[in-house]
């Protein structure tokens, strides 16, 4: 991908948006913990508005897309630039996926409301990357935040 969004992985997902420790066991709590990574980096004006948008999207239908992946996402005025956060789980978080696989790799996407196609584009690029067994394996094995960023940089194309 040669657009501004995926050209700069460090801008989209700075190291502080990556958590390698076990997230909460419940889906909503995991979504909140990922949101808090983005809140703590100062990118979210209104945490509650962002959370409401994320949970409204989950209510419509789960973002558990199968293969052990959850991608909660929302378009919201609470952010002014596209942001991604990542957590992984050994135990797995029940995202209610159609294939019944608990999510072990979880990405949160927040995109500004007026972001147009950015939203679909990040979602599709990320999904395309995560369909590859070796990409998922590298994310599970990543020893630190920069391993995660490197994997995404190489895989999102």
């Amino acid at each position: 991908m040669t657009d501004a969004i995926t050209d700069d992985i460090d801008e989209l997902i700075p190291a502080s948006h990556i958590s390698l420790s076990e997230p909460p066991a419940q889906k909503e709590a995991t979504i909140e913990s990922l949101l808090d990574l983005v809140v703590e980096s100062g990118r979210v004006d209104d945490r509650q508005a962002a959370l409401d948008a994320l949970l409204a999207r989950e209510e419509e239908t789960t973002t558990g897309v199968g293969m052990g992946i959850g991608i909660p996402h929302a378009k919201t005025e609470a952010v002014d630039r596209p942001s991604l956060a990542f957590a992984r789980s050994e135990a797995g978080v029940d995202f209610g996926s159609m294939d019944d696989e608990p999510a072990t790799l979880i990405f949160l996407i927040l995109v500004p409301k007026e972001g147009g196609e950015d939203h679909l584009q990040i979602l599709s690029s990320l999904s395309r990357a995560l369909m590859h067994d070796d990409v998922r394996e590298r994310l599970h094995e990543a020893g630190d935040e920069s391993d995660v960023q490197d994997t995404l940089r190489e895989a999102i194309s």
Binding site: E60, G64, V65, M98, L123, S125, S127, M131
Partner: protein, 92 residues
């Protein structure tokens, strides 16, 4: 039995969220292998939500559907209905 068609996407959100969930559920409820992709490009398995999400199909885009199996014709008819119905008129 094999069948295919090309459909233009009507829901505002594209093949995403509820239309995408209905799309995948419809495929898994029928006896047919279904693949989907932009006309002229590689196809992906339509029973996989991550594969369908990876297509990034937006409103107004064309999607090629190829079905093979006893329910090929009926699954394509149902998928076309989902893809050509505005989201607020779509019944679960």
């Amino acid at each position: 039995m094999s069948d295919e068609r090309i459909v233009e996407i009507v829901p505002e959100a594209g093949l995403h969220a509820r239309p995408a969930a209905l799309f995948v559920e419809t495929v898994t409820d029928h006896e047919a292998d279904v693949e989907a992709g932009p006309p002229g490009s590689d196809l992906v398995p339509a029973r996989s939500m991550i594969a369908v999400t990876s297509l990034g199909v937006g409103q107004g885009d064309e999607l090629r559907l190829v079905a093979d199996g006893p329910d090929a014709e009926s699954v394509l008819a149902e998928l076309e209905r989902i893809l050509t119905t505005p989201e607020d008129e779509l019944e679960a």
